[in-house]
């Protein structure tokens, strides 16, 4: 028994040590990817901000009313775009997002919900549970992709304009800090004038400027051209933020795993040393006992 447990203990210590090496490596990789994702997010912000700025400048109530992307419809056909990661091992990251999606759908049971899944995890989860997954994008590999973002935004816009969906929401993990991210549902379409005018306080200044601006070819034309870009940029930023959250979540969960390995390894090593010492003591006793028996005899 003692010999056997010595052997198994040794094996377990080695296993834990190997796992620890892996989790630590994954933590490092995630940290590097997190930095890159943050840089991507940061680099994408000026474009988005400028675009929003321009939109607010040319948006007047007349231009907004004239654009079908702002029309609210009473219909109940809702589309939820769920962003998850392609890979797991990120703790409760994807589970939290999936749960938020299910809560969202349950909160309006009489609506007809359809899902578009970005990320393999979400696609597999919702397909397995029999949800109506109408489309999916997988293989982004935890990175925002400008082309895919544009394609997705165009697809969503067409769905909305064709009347296939009355509302479209995005569900993604909002990056709050390296250790905190929160699943959030934001309305994508129809667009709301409030969502556009972020700088409401600046409005008098904008209005004053507006009279001086030469707008080519016309405010309505510029506005209508800005909107698709704005939507695409929103999807891109969402992807970038989702990627940032994913890598931070994985980094944190791998950091925890590494810590747990250290703890478990220490415990097992202690056990192993005790067992080894016990075995040596027993052997010594045997030898001493044998020698004494010989002397007596």
């Amino acid at each position: 028994m003692a010999v056997e447990s010595l052997k198994t203990l040794r094996r377990r210590v080695r296993t834990v040590r190997n796992i620890k090496q892996i989790t630590r490596a994954m933590e490092m990789v995630s940290a590097a990817k997190l930095r890159r994702a943050q840089a991507t997010l940061l680099a994408a912000r000026p474009y988005a901000r400028k675009l929003q700025d321009l939109l607010a400048r040319v948006a007047a109530s007349s231009t907004v009313a004239g654009n079908p992307l702002f029309h609210e419809r009473p219909g109940k056909r809702r589309v939820l775009v769920v962003f998850t990661s392609d890979r797991g091992l990120a703790g409760s990251f994807n589970v939290n997002i999936a749960r938020t999606a299910e809560e969202q759908m349950r909160s309006e049971p009489d609506a007809q919900w359809r899902l578009i899944c970005i990320g393999r995890r979400g696609r597999d989860y919702f397909t397995r549970r029999g949800y109506d997954v109408i489309d999916s994008v997988v293989g982004l590999g935890g990175q925002a992709d400008s082309q895919q973002a544009t394609r997705l935004a165009d697809r969503l816009r067409e769905m909305f304009l064709a009347g296939e969906a009355d509302t479209i929401d995005l569900l993604y993990a909002r990056f709050i800090s390296t250790v905190v991210n929160r699943p959030m549902v934001v309305q994508f379409l129809p667009m709301t004038p409030e969502a556009l005018q972020i700088g409401k306080k600046k409005e008098p200044a904008i209005a004053a400027h507006e009279t001086e601006y030469i707008i080519e070819p016309s405010p309505q034309a510029v506005f209508d051209q800005l909107l698709p870009r704005y939507l695409s940029s929103r999807v891109y930023i969402t992807m970038a933020e989702q990627a940032t959250s994913e890598h931070s979540a994985r980094m944190v969960s791998m950091n925890n795993a590494t810590k747990n390995c250290t703890e478990l390894g220490d415990q097992l090593t202690l056990k192993l040393n005790k067992a080894r010492q016990g075995a040596i003591t027993k052997e010594l006793l045997d030898i001493v006992g044998g020698a004494e028996a010989l002397q007596k005899g």
């Binding site: 000026p46 474009y47 400028k50 321009l54 080519e216 070819p217 034309a221 510029v222 800005l226 870009r229």
Partner: protein, 86 residues
């Protein structure tokens, strides 16, 4: 000749930031040029060639649409795609 600032952004990042002498952009209703001290302008751009002059240097890029804003001697362009013309 006076210079002005040109900044070009794509959805992904800032790709150009420099002082230039003049630019020629593909407006929706034809090409037009911008020099320093241009009046405030906001224009939608189509697909075509963007010509940037900096002193005696001239660079030509291809863009696939976007926007140009000129204000306070700063030209800001938001473009869908930009690449150096062959």
């Amino acid at each position: 000749m006076a210079d002005f600032k040109l900044q070009v952004y794509t959805q992904e990042k800032k790709i150009y930031d420099d002082d230039v002498t003049s630019i020629v952009v593909p407006g929706l209703q034809g090409y037009f040029g911008v020099l320093a001290h241009h009046a405030p302008l906001l224009a939608a751009l189509g697909q075509g060639k963007l010509t940037v002059r900096k002193g005696a240097e001239e660079h030509v890029y291809e863009i696939a649409g976007g926007f140009l804003e000129v204000r306070d001697n700063i030209a800001t362009m938001l473009v869908d795609k930009l690449r150096e013309a062959a």
